[in-house]
């Protein structure tokens, strides 16, 4: 009796030990599973019947996916495509935990990843993403997109929307201050602040709204000069002695000190500031267009000028903010997923015209820029051909290596920026940030 019970106890303990081990062994199992299915797909070339895609922003990315889904259904009516909407932060969490746990169950076939983060996923989870080199050509897309979407010479991402920036302006406020849109075609950031002072004096409106927790503007400025937080290798921090970064910091401080900037704390306050007419300009990515045009009463009052530039280096009037690309996961159904992407976002010029007219998506597929939709005048912006302007600026965006630590370094810089605004010397601000970045990034 006693022995029997002990035996049961031991068996139970062993069982638990096994079950707790299975977690770490899971990856092996699934790899075997995948191998099996690969074999079956090899013998029966039938495609996967169902693929799942994760993306954020229903008005933009999801809407674009719906267009692509309808387009793909014309030639492949049997494939069921599930589009799942998650917030970007949720996608990052789910991907990280899913990939890290070693089990591919629950992961999608295609996922949208922001360009600033894509390398951290590609490098951290090698073999988890499907090599698309045979499905699409990286050179078909805007050059600056190749850095984030490829690794070791292989193309992993399908470059999607352009984060090309422009300077959105309230032309009515500018006119009250004695300026025209034409006066802002070739200015630097210092001239921009001077104009802002005049606008503030004449209209009482702020020039710009800033979020102290978001250095997007700094990113925009340094990329316009072909520099980044990291050196070309994507690993060495490039903060102390980075002339564009130094000038960007100085401009940021001048913006806050010359009383032309308003402060906002989150996205909704940011959009509210634009729509309520509180600010005269927004230097940001073209994806803001739908948010600006949402306030129909301001039609005809906005215009878009090229981005102001820095005085140092080879800064140009074009830069990038945000932007994201599609990635196919190395799980069952990858061939179907790759086929879907190649036939839609990877080649379909017609579809890009539809994306632009229906949703306002400016893609980075080079061939699409020649289409008709790209040269249409926009009534909201007083007939300005904003898309062809953006398309032209897209070509000038300097390519930089975002590396894998954009947000880690930015959090260090946000703190140092506060110190700088409170009076700390700029050179020690940058060298302190450099030292901290070096100790944190390994």
């Amino acid at each position: 009796m006693k022995k029997g019970f002990a035996l049961v106890l031991i068996c139970l303990l062993l069982l638990t030990a096994c079950s707790s081990n299975s977690g770490s062994k899971n990856s092996g199992n699934t790899a075997a599973d995948t191998g099996k299915t690969e074999n079956t797909t090899a013998t029966e070339p039938a495609q996967a019947k169902e693929i799942t895609i994760w993306a954020w922003d229903p008005a933009f990315n999801i809407a674009a996916l719906e267009v692509a889904k309808a387009e793909y259904a014309k030639t492949n009516p049997d494939v069921k495509i599930n589009i799942v909407e998650y917030a970007q932060a949720d996608i990052i969490q789910k991907l990280n935990t899913g990939l890290n746990s070693g089990t591919t169950k629950g992961l999608p076939n295609i996922v949208l990843i922001e360009d600033y983060r894509s390398q951290s996923f590609l490098q951290s989870y090698k073999d988890s993403f499907y090599d698309l080199s045979s499905s699409i050509k990286g050179t078909d897309f805007a050059d600056y997109k190749s850095g984030p979407t490829s690794l070791d010479g292989k193309q992993y991402g399908i470059p999607f929307d352009s984060g090309v920036t422009g300077l959105y302006l309230r032309t009515d406020y500018l006119e009250q201050a004695g300026y025209k849109l034409a006066d802002l075609q070739d200015i630097d950031w210092k001239q921009y602040i001077e104009i802002g002072k005049a606008v503030k004096e004449k209209t009482g409106k702020a020039l710009i709204t800033l979020d102290p927790n978001d250095l997007g503007l700094i990113r925009v400025m340094i990329q316009s000069a072909g520099e980044w937080y990291l050196k070309e290798d994507g690993k060495t921090p490039n903060i102390a002695g980075n002339a564009p970064l130094k000038e960007a910091f100085e401009i940021y401080k001048e913006l806050t000190e010359s009383n032309v900037a308003k402060v906002h704390a989150d996205w909704s306050q940011f959009v509210a500031a634009l729509n309520s007419g509180d600010v005269a300009s927004v230097p940001t990515g073209n994806w803001i267009t739908p948010s600006i045009t949402a306030e129909a009463s301001q039609s005809g009052k906005w215009g878009i000028a090229p981005l102001p530039k820095l005085t140092v280096n080879k800064s140009v009037h074009a830069s990038n903010l945000g932007g994201s690309s599609w990635y196919v996961m190395n799980v069952d159904g990858k061939e179907t997923a790759a086929d879907f992407m190649a036939k839609t976002f990877g080649s379909n010029v017609e579809m890009y015209q539809k994306l632009l007219t229906d949703i306002g998506v400016i893609g980075t597929f080079k061939a699409a820029a020649g289409g008709e939709a790209y040269s249409q005048a926009n009534e909201f912006f007083s007939g300005q051909k904003i898309v062809s302007d953006f398309a032209a600026w897209t070509e000038q965006i300097p390519s930089v290596n975002y590396g894998i630590n954009t947000y880690a370094i930015e959090d260090i810089l946000i703190v140092e920026m506060q110190n700088y605004l409170n009076g700390k010397d700029i050179d020690s601000v940058l060298s302190d940030a450099q030292a901290q970045a070096e100790s944190q990034i390994k």
Binding site: Q123, S124, P212, S439
Partner: protein, 298 residues
């Protein structure tokens, strides 16, 4: 001999029967508590992004000591702890004594009203607070209307006021929770003790410090330990109201763990190390609290 043998057999049998009752719970605890804890400990000795982890010994722990962001996060967390926990406990004690007054009318209503914040969703209330305290939010509008301030207070975007906002938010959320413990303890105090004190001429303040506080001591210890643990793990409010900002002025240790895992290039090894630092801190603080406030046998 035979008797002792059967006694022994009986004892083993009863021990085994006892174990068989708790076996399932023990197994579940091992699988879902101790195994992950052990895994996390192992993880804390590894470095690398995502799944490219390599063993680096105590590297993460030495990095912890020179990591400015970590030190700031610890400092912020302890500011919340030192300001908010005593504030909340005194407030909860005060309110519970008021609500325990037998002459008070609408007791049920007041108790529910003060307890209600504890059952609201953490995220929902954080979002509401964010809007209440925003630049042109209700709080600023009221302060301006009452002429208490001349310009709107930067509740969320100023480092000092952002901390105050967080403290107000967590105090609002958790005071009622602690109050419930005090209320139930107060109801266990025999009313005759107070009557005797009254006959002896003790004032109500004297009664409070002489009777209520000493008799509530175990509960005060309990609430201060749970509040300490809660504050050291503070995450939702900061994440939703200020995102740790401005700069890292309101960032807590838990939020730093989140950032290391999901905002930056996923460094789960170092994040596990930071998690273990919280474990160590909670253990130390709980021991200290027991030593200072606990009874010798408790």
């Amino acid at each position: 001999m035979h008797q002792t043998n059967s006694k022994l057999r009986f004892r083993t049998k009863s021990v085994l029967t006892g174990w068989s009752f708790v076996l399932l719970a023990v197994i579940l605890i091992f699988v879902f508590y101790f195994y992950p804890m052990l895994q996390a400990l192992i993880l804390s000795f590894q470095t690398g992004t995502g799944s490219n982890l390599t063993f680096t010994g105590f590297d993460n722990y030495s990095r912890l000591l020179s990591d400015k962001t970590f030190i700031v996060s610890v400092k912020n967390t302890f500011i919340y702890l030192l300001v908010q926990v005593p504030l909340m406990i005194i407030l909860a004690l005060f309110i519970s004594v008021l609500l325990n007054d037998s002459k008070l009318r609408f007791k049920g209503f007041f108790r529910t009203a003060i307890f209600l914040p504890c059952v609201t969703s953490l995220v929902a209330y954080s979002v509401v607070f964010k809007y209440l305290f925003s630049g042109n939010g209700l709080v600023n509008t009221m302060l301006l209307k009452l002429h208490l301030v001349s310009a709107p207070i930067e509740w969320i975007t100023d480092p000092f006021w952002a901390k105050i906002t967080i403290i107000i938010a967590i105090t609002w959320r958790w005071t009622g929770y602690n109050m419930i413990f005090y209320l139930s303890a107060l109801q266990n105090i025999d009313h005759s003790i107070y009557e005797a004190a009254k006959i002896d001429g003790a004032s109500s303040t004297r009664q409070f410090f002489g009777i209520t506080v000493p008799l509530l001591k175990p509960i005060i210890l309990f609430t201060s330990i749970t509040s300490t643990i809660g504050t050291l793990q503070l995450f939702d409010e900061v994440m939703n109201i200020t995102k740790g900002g401005p700069g890292n002025a309101t960032q807590t240790i838990s939020q730093y763990i989140y950032n290391l895992s999901f905002k930056y290039a996923a460094d789960f090894g170092y994040a596990a190390t930071v998690s273990y630092s919280i474990v160590i801190m909670i253990a130390l603080l709980s021991v200290i609290q027991f030593k200072v406030a606990g009874d010798k046998n408790g």
